[in-house]
């Protein structure tokens, strides 16, 4: 099946999210859409999948124009999509999820799940998936959940499969497995649209690359193009992929974590016996695939996790068992992983968000009364200092762009003297310009002599910021390695392979010469 997009334009009010995009996807081809966060890739795919009506332009299948009124039409036409956030119902079984919207029924509308189970095992056999149709989706690891999503598309006889940032939640090993699956699908004659901003994968899997920038196709590239070339095309200017920073000058280790264990409400040890130190003027990056205990680790330090045992010492003071307020007062600056949920109150003004954790401290409050004038002047100053682009400090923070929102969070957290700075996923969803700004600020704080802990699932970010790297796997510390450790070793460690073994394996692979 040949799929063509001609002059697709999508406007939201005065904003043009997609501007006359042309795209051709040939059968048996992996077509990569490369672009920054917010470049319009997902919008385009949602148009293709029938979730949005295009404002202009047309979609052609095998040369014939089609109109999709909803995802149902798109699926009927043979288009399947694996969304970045899985579209699975956690409390349903795999079979129920696969059946949904495409149910096999017996008489009177009664479900025939056996039919669905049969189809699932058929597809599982064909592609080597190991999926239990009766498992509850919420009990499955993300990698398997992703396969369920692929099964969902295949059950509906999809000829074109759209994968939206499919590797964001996978380990490097799971990513390799996914790429294998994609190759199999390609061999079976399916077309794949692979959306990503990760250059390495794109280079590895694609037959053709289309680069999108600010809603427009800015050109196509060959998979053999160099990463720097691709990055420049994506961002629209020459980029240096590395951050300039001075070597770290670590001082005394003032932050010590010992035997930290966090038990979740199911009784699982989501953080399991962690011990590490961070010295003044040093960045320790916590690497690992999403969901391996990073969130719980940072929240345990902040004091919002229950069932925590072990010890967290900052400047010889035990933080464990203290309230969030006490932890913050001890000099911990905290940038949460999801700024919209944990970092900001979207309907509050910028000035209110600037004092979200300082509202009851002098000089912003005296007793129970607050000082609006001081709060406003503080906000003015910080907006200036952190270059927050906003018409006014009274604007609701939820209306700012992601980059500006993150600047507000940073401005707030860095506006008081810190003894420890923790930032989780500090650049998630930001454009390149904002990423650079955030990284510079983080390094500046390190150079101030603050111990810094960065949690990131992006290996690039880890390698860029870290002075030392701690790798987490299933709540356990796989090892702490120096900044210069190779990607392959880190990748293996992120899959739980101990450091020395990882080094050996990586070495062999390199000798074999199969890796980039």
């Amino acid at each position: 099946m040949k799929l063509e997009l001609k002059g697709i334009t999508k406007r939201f009010g005065s904003l043009v999210a997609n501007d006359h995009i042309d795209l051709v996807v040939e059968p048996g081809q992996v077509h990569c859409l490369l672009g920054e966060n917010g470049a319009g890739k997902s919008t385009l795919m949602n148009v293709l999948y029938g979730l949005y009506d295009p404002s202009d332009g047309e979609i052609l299948i095998d040369g014939k124009p089609v109109v999709f009124k909803g995802p149902g039409d798109a699926m009927a036409a043979g288009i399947g999509m694996v969304h970045q956030h899985f579209m699975l119902i956690p409390v349903f079984t795999v079979a129920e999820n696969v059946a949904l919207g495409n149910e096999a029924t017996k008489a009177a509308g009664f479900l025939n799940l056996d039919e669905t189970r049969r189809k699932i095992s058929e597809i599982s056999k064909q592609y080597g998936f190991h999926v239990d149709p009766d498992a509850l989706v919420e009990d499955l690891p993300v990698g398997v959940q992703q396969r369920v999503e692929i099964i969902k598309a295949l059950v509906r006889d999809a000829e074109v499969l759209i994968l939206d940032e499919p590797t964001a939640v996978l380990t490097p090993q799971e990513t390799d497995e996914l790429l294998d699956i994609i190759r199999q699908l390609k061999a079976a004659g399916k077309s794949i649209v692979f959306i990503s901003h990760k250059l390495r994968e794109v280079k590895e899997i694609s037959d053709i690359i289309t680069v999108i920038r600010r809603g427009k196709v800015v050109g196509s590239a060959d998979p053999s193009a160099s990463p720097t070339e691709l990055a420049s095309a994506m961002v629209g200017r020459a980029v240096s992929l590395t951050l300039e920073k001075k070597p770290a000058q670590p001082g005394e280790a003032t932050f010590k974590v010992r035997d930290l264990t966090v038990v979740d409400h199911n009784g699982q040890h989501v953080v399991d016996g962690l011990s590490f130190d961070i010295a003044k003027g040093e960045v320790l990056a916590i690497a690992g695939v999403q969901g391996n205990g990073q969130t719980e680790l940072t929240e345990a330090i902040l004091g919002v996790q229950q069932h925590v045992t072990g010890s967290i010492i900052l400047d010889d003071v035990e933080l464990l068992g203290k309230s969030v307020k006490q932890v913050l007062s001890a000099g911990v600056g905290f940038v949460p992983e999801d700024r919209k949920i944990d970092g900001l109150v979207g309907t509050f003004s910028i000035s209110e968000n600037m004092i979200l954790d300082l509202y009851d401290k002098a000089p912003f409050a005296q007793g129970i009364g607050m000082k609006p004038a001081l709060i406003a002047s503080h906000a003015e100053k910080k907006v200036e200092e952190f270059d927050v682009r906003t018409p006014s400090i009274d604007v609701a923070v939820g209306t700012l762009s992601g980059g500006n929102q993150q600047k507000v969070v940073l401005a707030r957290e860095l506006s008081r003297p810190l003894r420890l700075f923790i930032a989780s996923q500090p650049t998630r969803g930001l454009d390149v310009g904002s990423i650079e700004f955030v990284h510079k600020r983080v390094i500046a704080e390190r150079d101030n002599g603050t111990p810094v802990m960065i949690v990131s699932t992006e290996l690039d970010e880890v390698l860029e910021l870290a002075d030392r790297i701690a790798v987490l796997y299933r709540g356990k510390l796989v090892g702490i390695v120096p900044a210069g450790t190779s990607r392959d070793v880190l990748g293996l460690m992120m899959a739980g392979v101990p450091e020395h073994e990882a080094e050996l394996t990586a070495h062999k692979t390199l000798e074999g010469g199969t890796h980039v």
Partner: protein, 457 residues
């Protein structure tokens, strides 16, 4: 960062602008879900703090016409018209006079407008009164009736601001009245002290009953809507039971009513004995000022608002969320408890099974109409007080059942909660064009928000 013309900066500005715009489209639909970061908030987002930038463009006139104030006015108008139609249709005299409408249209119109004329006469100014006192009596009656409505409405509004739907004002009023009345008729003390103690007792009574809700919500996650509904019934049955016990029942009476409160425990009459208006109204004014200060100028109010708008962010910022939830429910309960005091120490002067009437439920509509702001609630309380006071006069004069007031009140709130509905009815929809252009949607963002909302809910 100081060089302003580097290409990188230009790019960044543009990228950010486009993202801002995208967010704005989202804002269009996400307003009522508190930025979507949590389960939909019960409060109109505009009142949650900060400012919501209005869509640019359009003339000043258009903005006024389509703005919130206009929607409120139109909502009231629409509700009154609908109420009028309902009264006209059910009034046999209207049908009678309609028979000769073309001969004497005045007769029918008089019949149609008679109830409203009586309502205005009973609520604001009685131009047929013999002297100034009789003419002004209605407005003082309105103020008297609105005092408990305002107080209880403030309780509901305050809880709204903390993201809690307090349907329990009814029970909290009962508890306030229960505590206050007990102090009022069992203890005997000189005037200002006794009244003060009664007020304190009412405050505590309401705070206890509201605080229980906060406690259950904070400690066990029990949904406050369910808990408050249930506690209303429990409070009511408890009141009915207590009024049969010797401690509360009036001596020598077989009815479930309490003794009269001591004279020293009553609010002084403000305009002399010929008017019912008492100092409870001043209490309502003071409470409004207090709630305004609490929300706008105090750290506690900041905590409440933050918890209401985004609980996870509040917790991450070191705010003790359970404490805020318990406290806000206790204060909300206390305010409703004061409404109970306005009843027993002012209007009723004794405790009976019907002490709370339907004030607790009216308070919800008052808070909604007032968009959960203190002064909005104050004026909404005055309006609904006028409806109540006027309704009584209307029922007496024109035999129109006072229930029509409930219909009008609820219609007002329904319309105000759905501005697009009102605009659609009156054919003023500023966003219509934009919506059509925006097609079905505005990005995958809302979906992410819905997900996250589900996660935090």
């Amino acid at each position: 960062m100081s060089e302003s013309n580097t290409p990188r900066q230009v790019n960044e500005v543009e990228a950010e602008r486009s993202e801002t715009l995208a967010d704005e489209v989202v804002l269009d639909v996400a307003l009522d879900t508190a930025d979507g970061a949590m389960a939909p908030s019960v409060i109109p987002a505009a009142s949650q703090g900060g400012q919501i930038p209005h869509a640019a463009g359009g003339s000043v006139f258009r903005q006024i016409v389509t703005g919130n104030a206009m929607v409120s006015v139109l909502s009231v108008l629409l509700a009154i018209v609908l109420g009028g139609i309902l009264m006209a249709v059910t009034n046999p005299k209207v049908a009678e006079t309609a028979g000769y409408f073309f001969a004497q249209p005045g007769d029918m119109l008089t019949e149609v407008f008679r109830p409203y004329v009586a309502l205005v006469q009973g609520a604001i100014f009685n131009w047929t009164g013999a002297d100034a006192a009789a003419q002004l009596y209605p407005i003082t009656e309105t103020l008297t009736v609105s005092a408990p409505l305002i107080l209880a409405g403030l309780g509901v509004a305050l809880a709204f601001r903390a993201g809690l739907f307090n349907i329990g004002a009814q029970g909290q009023i009962i508890f306030g009245a229960l505590f206050g009345a007990y102090v009022g008729f069992t203890w005997h003390m000189p005037f200002p002290i006794h009244l003060l103690l009664v007020i304190v007792a009412g405050f505590i009574g309401g705070a206890v009953w509201g605080g229980i809700v906060g406690l259950l919500k904070a400690r066990t996650g029990a949904h406050e809507v369910i808990v408050t509904i249930m506690l209303n019934y429990i409070a009511n049955f408890l009141l009915l039971f207590l009024l049969t016990t010797p401690a509360f029942q009036r001596k020598g009476s077989t009815n479930p009513i309490s003794p009269f409160l001591d004279q020293s425990a009553l609010f002084p009459e403000l305009l002399g004995p010929q008017f019912r208006l008492h100092a409870g109204f001043l209490l309502a004014v003071l409470a409004t000022v207090f709630v305004w200060w609490l929300l706008k100028r105090s750290t506690l109010g900041f905590e409440f608002r933050a918890v209401g708008a985004n609980q996870s962010a509040a917790r991450t910022a070191g705010i003790n969320v359970p404490r805020a939830v318990i406290l806000v429910m206790a204060i909300a309960g206390a305010l409703a408890g004061l409404a109970g005091i306005a009843q027993v120490s002012g209007t009723e002067k004794y405790l009976s099974g019907g002490v709370a009437a339907s004030i607790g439920f009216d308070a919800i509509t008052v808070a909604l109409l007032g968009r959960s702001t203190p002064w909005g609630t104050f004026f909404a309380g005055l309006l609904f007080g006028a409806f109540r006071a006027g309704g009584v006069a209307m029922q007496a004069q024109t035999q129109t059942p006072i229930d029509i007031v409930l219909v009008i009140q609820s219609l007002i709130v329904l319309f105000i909660a759905a501005p697009p509905l009102v605009r659609a009815i009156f054919g003023l929809n500023p966003r219509k064009k934009k919506k059509a252009a925006g097609g079905p949607g505005s990005g995958t963002r809302p979906s992410g928000k819905i997900e996250s909302g589900a996660a935090t809910a």
